[in-house]
């Protein structure tokens, strides 16, 4: 299956074949988790502070389906308090 990954800010240096706006297409097996996607791109897990999957907050265990879009954000970006509390995976209660 194919998913779209959007890398933001300092994460852009990690992906091979990233376009100018930080997006790349990734071929994966079915039932892939967000953790596996991050690992496949060679990004250290601690460099990903927030994930947004199809516009919704996600965490490392979130399962991806064909055609999904996942955006990854590094720790230096998680500001605006409402946004931080809504999307930061480490604040998940």
């Amino acid at each position: 299956m194919q998913i779209t990954v959007k890398l933001n800010a300092s994460l852009r240096q990690h992906g091979r074949g990233v376009s100018k706006d930080g997006t790349l297409l990734l071929e994966t097996e079915g039932n892939t988790t967000a953790r596996e996607v991050v690992q496949k791109l060679g990004i250290p897990l601690e460099k990903v502070k927030m994930m947004i999957l199809n516009g919704r907050g996600a965490n490392f265990d979130s399962i991806l389906n064909n055609g999904d879009r996942i955006a990854l954000f590094p720790p230096e970006m998680a500001f605006n308090m409402y946004v931080a509390i809504s999307f930061r995976r480490d604040l998940k209660s």
């Binding site: 933001n8 800010a9 308090m81």
Partner: protein
């Protein structure tokens, strides 16, 4: 910091008094709101003789505390008709505090058409005639005053918009680079200053003594703790300095909460062209400054200097809200055009958020097409020159909506909404609806987990938990706004306990107090109660604490969701 200067613009008399009574122990927003509440009749006309303009540094301003250079400007708002505190950085707050000034209160009104300035120094406050400065934009005005006085003075000023008493007129404050690029934008404080016939305040702190610290050891230790947290946290040490506040554009757009074309969608297809990453690349390539300290004592440095292709500065601190309001909200994806718009707004003296909202509404009405950057620039020139169409725009989004018969008008208490869609991020919708300030993103931004024990994940698309979140954030923000500290300290405070301990320690060290986190929360509650009471006396009730009906009826793409928080929850926000 215990001197209050009163300037009567009718008699042109200046008097000085000591801070006393209800004003003791307050600074920043706490002091502006207390003075407005005590001294301004809630039913007065905002640009009439009974309103007062209150200018105050925060409790920690003037000390060596990092990021303590914020200034609060308060009055009854010509835009909302309620109480207003508009917060701004730059250089003025620190200079006032170093002169021992807790507040300057501008009262009364001069003879029609007369214009004055104030010169503030260690010798006190003096009024000077300023008819020769009439009609000047903030940039030319600032250059003239710097040539006459000194390059190092701090300047608080209004442009033509304030002189014309437009409801979106801002008050400019000079940045550390001497340009009038920091603005108390929200709520039309520039119109109040204009109604007082006051064009500019020049501040020279030469010869000022150091701000007295009661317990220097405690202050120093707390201050170091605070600085360490700011330097350690990735948001304040990497994200904000490198990309500026606009780094948020990609996140909000991805979350489907980036208001687009007058709040008709939550995603803008042109976001990448105006994102923080793109802006960083453009500024770097052209040799501008991606990182810059705009405010005295700032160690975060979220500011930038946006330059044209020849490397000449267009504007300083092109910021998230400005880029969104005049970008995505108007369907414009041209960063150079947006930088030009920012420059024009700073020069004429307009709030960039209200301007972008009003242009979005005008575009909805068909006055210009969405995406027409030249058209947007033309509307700003009309507003700055005071043409009939320009006066419609210059009086804000609500006024523009009425003039053109538009129903999709994103305002609460007549103030235009900032850059977060309340249908996609429902918690901020609660704050927009209930804030004493009208739709305001900063009224609910602070250290929730530390003070209020609220934290953890709240689903942005669901109504659950949003009331408690907004309540906690509004209380803590009111308190932080009184310290003179920058709100961006909230991010390290969310993650590093020592950060907030540092803030409380600095307050205790500076004033010889024994405050705890509970006292800080109590201060926030007290300020909100004062503001709420003023608004009630001005005629506001819970029906004013609602979002416009289209948010409850029109489904916002991409989530196809409406605003779901029930009215009964909105009515609970101030039940504390």
């Amino acid at each position: 910091m215990d001197r209050i200067f009163r300037v009567n613009m009718g008699s042109l008399k200046v008097s000085e008094e000591k801070v006393s009574g209800d004003y003791v122990g307050l600074g920043g927003r706490g002091l502006t709101s207390m003075v407005v509440s005590k001294e301004v009749p809630a039913t007065c006309h905002p640009i009439g003789q009974h309103n007062k303009l209150v200018i105050t540094p925060g409790l920690l301003t003037g000390t060596t505390a990092a990021n303590s250079g914020r200034l609060s400007i308060g009055a009854k708002s010509p835009l909302t008709g309620g109480i207003k505190e508009s917060n701004v950085g730059g250089t003025a707050a620190t200079k006032l505090a170093r002169l021992g000034i807790a507040a300057i209160i501008i009262e009364g009104m001069p003879e029609k058409g007369k214009l004055f300035g104030l010169a503030v120094s260690k010798d006190g406050v003096k009024v000077f005639p300023a008819d020769d400065l009439k009609g000047l934009g903030n940039y030319e005005l600032t250059e003239k005053l710097q040539a006459k006085y000194d390059k190092k003075i701090g300047i608080i000023s209004i442009g033509p918009a304030g002189e014309m008493k437009m409801a979106m007129a801002s008050i400019a404050v000079t940045s550390t680079n001497g340009t009038p690029s920091r603005h108390a934008g929200r709520g039309g404080m520039g119109a109040v200053m204009g109604s007082k016939g006051l064009k500019a305040i020049v501040i020279d702190d030469t010869g000022a003594e150091k701000v007295a610290i009661k317990n220097p050891d405690l202050f120093k230790e707390a201050s170091q703790k605070f600085v360490k947290a700011l330097r350690e946290h990735p948001v304040t040490s990497e994200g904000l300095p490198k990309y500026g506040t606009n780094v948020l554009a990609s996140i909000i757009n991805e979350a489907g909460g980036y208001p687009t074309r007058n709040f008709s969608s939550g995603r803008f297809e042109g976001t990448d062209k105006i994102s923080g990453e793109t802006m960083h690349d453009i500024i770097s390539k052209r040799g501008g400054k991606t990182t810059h300290s705009g405010c005295t004592t700032c160690i975060i440095q979220c500011s930038n200097e946006y330059v044209d292709e020849k490397g000449k500065i267009i504007t300083s601190a092109l910021e998230y809200e400005t880029i969104w309001a005049n970008g995505a909200n108007c369907g414009i994806d041209d960063l150079d055009a947006i930088a030009h718009i920012d420059r024009l707004c700073d020069d004429y003296g307009f709030d960039t958020i209200e301007m972008g909202c009003a242009i979005g509404v005008a575009m909805e009405a068909g006055v210009k097409d969405f995406g027409d950057a030249e058209g947007a620039i033309q509307l700003i020139h009309e507003a700055g020159k005071g043409t009939p169409l320009g006066r419609i725009i210059g009086n804000g989004s609500g006024f523009t909506g009425k003039a053109f018969g538009v129903t999709r008008v994103p305002v609460v208490k007549n103030q235009g909404m900032p850059a977060y869609e309340p249908r996609a991020i429902q918690g901020i919708g609660v704050t927009y609806a209930t804030s004493t300030m009208g739709a305001d993103h900063t009224a609910g931004y602070a250290t929730a987990t530390n003070i209020m024990k609220v934290g953890g994940y709240v689903d942005p698309l669901k109504p659950d938990g949003q009331m408690a979140l907004s309540q906690a954030l509004q209380i803590t923000t009111a308190a932080v706004d009184s310290t003179g500290l920058c709100l961006f300290i909230a991010f390290p405070a969310l993650d590093i306990p020592e950060c907030f301990e540092g803030v409380i320690g600095m307050l205790n060290g500076c004033y010889g107090l024994n405050l705890t986190a509970d006292d800080v929360a109590a201060l926030g509650k007290k300020i909100l109660k004062i503001e709420r009471d003023f608004n009630e006396r001005a005629g506001f009730s819970n029906v004013d604490d609602r979002l416009p009906e289209f948010f409850k009826e029109e489904k916002l793409p991409p989530h196809n969701i409406t605003f779901l928080v029930p009215d009964v929850d909105l009515d609970k926000v101030f039940k504390f």
